[in-house]
């Protein structure tokens, strides 16, 4: 018997799941290959990936200024050439010089400090302060290969055994459930209220906390995703204050996933960081332990492939901070280019900078397009029979609820698949549209959803809408009779 087999592999690996790149995507890839080998073999010409928040894979353009600076930092020897000035904007060149001066020997190929290059952390801290109106300490920052590794680090620190629980929103982004499973902990669910636009009720938090405690679970932390994924809601300030009080009272670490902070589409909501909220309540280091996660993958920059991000940790003792540093050091450091990008995201061109106009125009174009697409898809989904869809206030997703007829649910049982996965697979096979079944995010039992991104190109939205509408009508006709 071999040493690594399905029978001898770490059971935590077997237990964890990540639907965003799960079964439905594998099927989609097979279909895509079919289309390549055998055009016309399916009732659609292309696969439309609406499963993953990966904007640049769907033709979203990167922010020019950011890429200029990154290119110069990757190849600094061209900075001294006169021809470079003809190819790059002056402020990008200036910014590259500034960044390179913060890197010893301008060596972007060297491992940096394990928390990230100090000068870049200074820049990010200033950016956080400009955003919130409260100071940030560069020593509180850990630059990571995307936000995900930072989440894993916190789970590793917090989870000692199965008896340690982490409160997570349901529906949730499955990084959390997967990470908790990998680290051997227990996910303690708290349900967001679909009827009230995915509202987060403190009474629900209290109820779930107490239930967990009575089951012998030591609840260590509360995960809040704001703006929400997959649900897209943006928390109101009052709600945020309640959450802070709750964590303080119950002695929970607040894990604030804020990667969609630049994705807010509705005029009646605004993003406020939890750091800002806690400080504005007069709470400091002694009052609450808070970890805030940010990424370069979302917003209007959508630089997923770069793997850039950070966590800002406040309210932890020096001994714990030492341990966090130690964990970070085992991997030496995050990729330098991603670190540079994180500093650019948190400190973009300002009014008066040469690139400011074009930067603003690019930013506005992306954000307004996202808002339009969100609206178009939302309207389309709400027009379908038996489907209700809360508005996407932020993030990049719609999470419609489908009222599946009994006949469909029975057919799903026979096919040994969850009803929403059953629907999603049929949708894929009929239209080439890839969505992620709601069961991948968890949901109130007995309800069915799917997550669809708002990212396909604007020109493709009408086709998506019509194909989806057509499919849904046929599906309901078939399974309602």
């Amino acid at each position: 018997m071999d040493s690594i087999t399905i029978d001898t592999i770490n059971p935590k690996v077997l237990k964890c799941e990540y639907a965003v790149r799960g079964e439905i995507v594998t099927i989609a890839q097979k279909l895509q290959q079919d289309l390549k080998d055998n055009p016309g073999s399916h009732p659609f010409d292309e696969i439309l990936y609406c499963n993953i928040g990966n904007p640049q894979s769907l033709a979203q353009q990167p922010i020019t200024f950011f890429r200029e600076v990154l290119a110069l930092c990757d190849h600094p020897s061209i900075l001294d050439k006169s021809e470079t000035q003809g190819l790059f904007s002056a402020d990008a060149i200036e910014r590259a010089f500034q960044i390179l001066d913060q890197i010893p020997g301008r060596a972007t190929g060297a491992y940096s400090h394990s928390q990230g290059i100090k000068g870049l952390r200074d820049t990010i801290a200033s950016g956080i302060e400009a955003r919130d109106g409260f100071p940030a300490d560069p020593n509180d920052l850990f630059l990571t290969d995307g936000a995900s590794p930072a989440v894993h680090m916190m789970m590793q620190l917090l989870i000692r055994s199965q008896n340690d629980g982490i409160l997570c929103p349901i529906p949730q982004y499955p990084l959390y459930s997967a990470s908790i499973a990998l680290h051997g902990g227990t996910l303690v669910p708290y349900y967001l209220d679909e009827q009230t636009g995915w509202g987060l009720e403190i009474s629900e938090l209290e109820h779930q906390l107490n239930t967990a405690k009575s089951n012998g679970i030591d609840v260590r932390a509360l995960v809040v995703i704001n703006p929400g994924n997959p649900t897209g809601q943006v928390l109101g300030e009052a709600n945020q204050r309640e959450i802070v009080e709750f964590c303080k009272k119950e002695g929970l670490v607040l894990l604030a996933d804020e990667v969609y902070q630049e994705n807010v589409y509705v005029p009646d909501k605004k993003f406020h960081s939890f750091k800002k909220i806690t400080r504005s309540m007069g709470y400091g280091e002694k009052d609450i332990s808070l970890v805030s996660f940010q990424s370069v993958s979302k917003g209007f920059y959508g630089e997923c492939g770069k793997r850039g991000g950070y966590m800002e940790i406040t309210g932890f003792s020096p001994e714990v901070r030492e341990q966090i540093y130690k964990l970070a050091s085992v991997n030496l450091c995050s990729n330098i280019s991603g670190q540079i990008l994180a500093s650019l995201v948190m400190s973009p061109p300002k009014v008066g900078d040469e690139s400011y106009e074009s930067f603003s125009a690019e930013k506005e174009a992306v954000l307004s397009s996202l808002a339009r697409r969100a609206q178009a898809l939302q309207d389309a989904l709400n027009s379908l029979e038996g489907v209700t869809c809360n508005r996407a206030e932020g993030a990049m997703y719609l999470f419609p609820r489908i009222n599946l007829p009994d006949k469909a649910i029975k057919a799903a049982e026979v096919a040994k698949t969850a009803p929403d996965a059953f629907y999603a697979k049929l949708l894929l096979n009929a239209t080439g549209i890839v969505v992620v079944p709601g069961s991948g995010f968890r949901q109130v039992p007995g309800t069915w959803h799917f997550r669809c991104t708002i990212l396909p190109q604007e020109e493709k939205i009408p086709a998506i809408v019509s194909r989806l509408t057509e499919f849904h009508k046929k599906f309901m006709d078939e399974f309602c009779g």
Partner: protein, 493 residues
């Protein structure tokens, strides 16, 4: 008020884990650096931080990939050669949206194909791109594989002593057990298969299921290459004992002698033919951080799986997908490393010149270090010297009083006196008095051999006598070490 996450209620595995490369010595060195003291960091394999220049061609290609709008500019040819432009276009075509899109969670298929072709050219056997996963540095790959293997504290992983502390740190974090096997310093850090058997027997006696064996070839910190005979023995041993062989081969480009070239574990395995070539489970690791590329900051790496069953591969893929994808620029660096400019390409001559320059310089420095150390025979590969220094009894006493291992104290004093930052051997080698029963518990070891890892570079003038005096003052040496200036401020201890 007690905090929700306090030292007391933190995951025990995190507390126990240690990573010396950036441990106490490094922190003290960083403190001194902040105070304005000039520090020479020889603690970590980080070539660009010590003045090694990046190769030009990959930086040109990646810059073009970062800023694809350059490709449309008529003047791009003024500062980028045509083959870099062509290569950038090729890579961009392989991606699904340029550098800014998550790739396949295993890495860009086109790059994995380049890696497979490299492996085939190197070893003479075909390699399957589907079994090659790109990772954010080799370290992440090591963690992923160990995470698949380790189920709990009774799962043991054989790790060489001395070792690169990523292994001890990862095993601790994952809640497994480290089973040491000792390399023979007097036999060129080679491996005696009987020692290996003994290590496994001892572990099993303690109720540990030994699951895997790590070999670091070329070695870190020891610098040796394993002989083919040794590799064969190891492979047979793993096969007999039902272990997965984990081959850390990140230094395969750092060979400084001609007598013993690098031969991959996979080649040796496949040369041995069936049944063993079809049964022995092997995972091989490589990186862009070492060799003559030294692109540590890019975090580019891969692992290649041999004889791992499809369902297990699927699970490993699933875990990779949770992190979405490795960073795309790092993947492109890997593609460039395994598939560099060829004869006839515009950039070929420059590429060869730059690469040779770096390798020859590393070779010179390796030999300088070797010739100078008294108790080392040959330092043949990798980037490290692992000299043994005999410390006088009073030094050991002083260390004990401070609660520090003697070589840690030595390294700290060396740092304060000279600004040279190193890694003490006891952080790389297991503590004789620690958890492992390497010796009788009651035995007191007097005058043990202690080790210091170091490589000395400076571009400032140093007065050899002053340096010698400074160290002499620090230690009041009765016997100990020789200090020699070889040339131009390069010293050997």
């Amino acid at each position: 008020m007690s905090k929700p996450l306090d030292y007391e209620n933190l995951n025990e595995n995190v507390k126990k884990c240690q990573y010396a490369v950036r441990g106490e010595l490094y922190l003290r060195a960083s403190e001194l650096q902040k105070e304005g003291k000039k520090i020479i960091f020889t603690n970590v394999g980080n070539p660009h931080a010590l003045g090694q220049k990046p190769l030009t061609f990959p930086r040109q290609v990646i810059a073009l990939c970062q800023a694809p709008f350059l490709l449309d500019d008529p003047n791009v040819g003024l500062i980028f050669p045509a083959d870099a432009i062509a290569r950038a276009k090729q890579f961009l075509a392989m991606t699904s949206g340029g550098l800014g899109a998550y790739s396949d969670s295993r890495g860009i298929p086109g790059v994995r194909k380049e890696v497979a072709e490299f492996i085939e050219r190197r070893d003479g056997y075909p390699s399957d791109p589907e079994l090659i996963f790109l990772t954010d540095g080799a370290s992440k790959g090591v963690m992923q594989i160990l995470n698949s293997v380790i189920r709990g504290p009774s799962d043991g992983i054989l790790v060489p002593v001395p070792q690169y502390p990523l292994y001890s740190a990862s095993i601790q974090l994952l809640g497994g057990s480290l089973v040491p096997y000792f390399l023979e310093e007097t036999a060129n850090w080679g491996l005696d298969i009987n020692d290996l058997r003994q290590s496994v027997a001892q572990a099993r006696f303690k109720g540990i299921t030994v699951r895997a064996m790590v070999i670091i070839n070329p070695g870190n910190p020891t610098g040796q290459c394993l002989s083919v005979a040794n590799l064969k023995q190891i492979i047979q041993f793993c096969h007999q004992e039902n272990l997965v062989l984990l081959g850390d081969e990140v230094y395969q480009q750092n060979i400084y002698q001609d007598e013993r070239p690098f031969i991959s574990a996979r080649k040796v395995l496949l040369d041995m033919g069936p049944p063993i070539s079809k049964e022995l489970q092997l995972v091989s690791f490589h990186t862009v951080s070492k060799g003559y590329w030294g692109e540590c900051g890019q975090r580019g790496g891969y692992f290649e799986m041999t004889n791992i069953p499809p369902k297990a591969v699927e699970e490993i893929y699933k875990v990779a997908s949770i992190s979405l994808s490795p960073n795309v620029p790092g993947q492109i660096f890997m593609g460039l490393m395994v598939n560099p400019p060829k004869p006839g390409d515009i950039s070929y001559d420059q590429y060869v010149r730059e690469s040779k320059g770096i390798l020859e310089s590393l070779r010179r420095r390796a030999h300088m270090m070797t010739d100078g150390f008294n108790s080392c025979r040959n330092v043949v590969c990798a980037m490290y010297s692992f000299p043994q220094i005999r410390l006088p009894p009073r030094a050991i006493e002083a260390a004990n009083k401070l609660g520090k291992a003697p070589d840690v104290l030595y390294c700290l004093r060396l740092l304060e006196a000279t600004g040279i930052s190193t890694v003490p051997g006891s952080d790389i080698e297991l503590d004789y008095h620690g958890d492992e029963d390497a010796t009788d518990p009651g035995e007191k070891i007097v005058n043990p051999p202690w080790y210091v890892v170091g490589r000395v570079f400076t571009d400032k003038f140093i007065n050899p006598k002053s340096l010698s005096d400074a160290m002499g003052k620090a230690w009041r040496l009765g016997e100990g070490m020789a200090v020699r200036e070889l040339e131009n401020n390069v010293f050997i201890f």
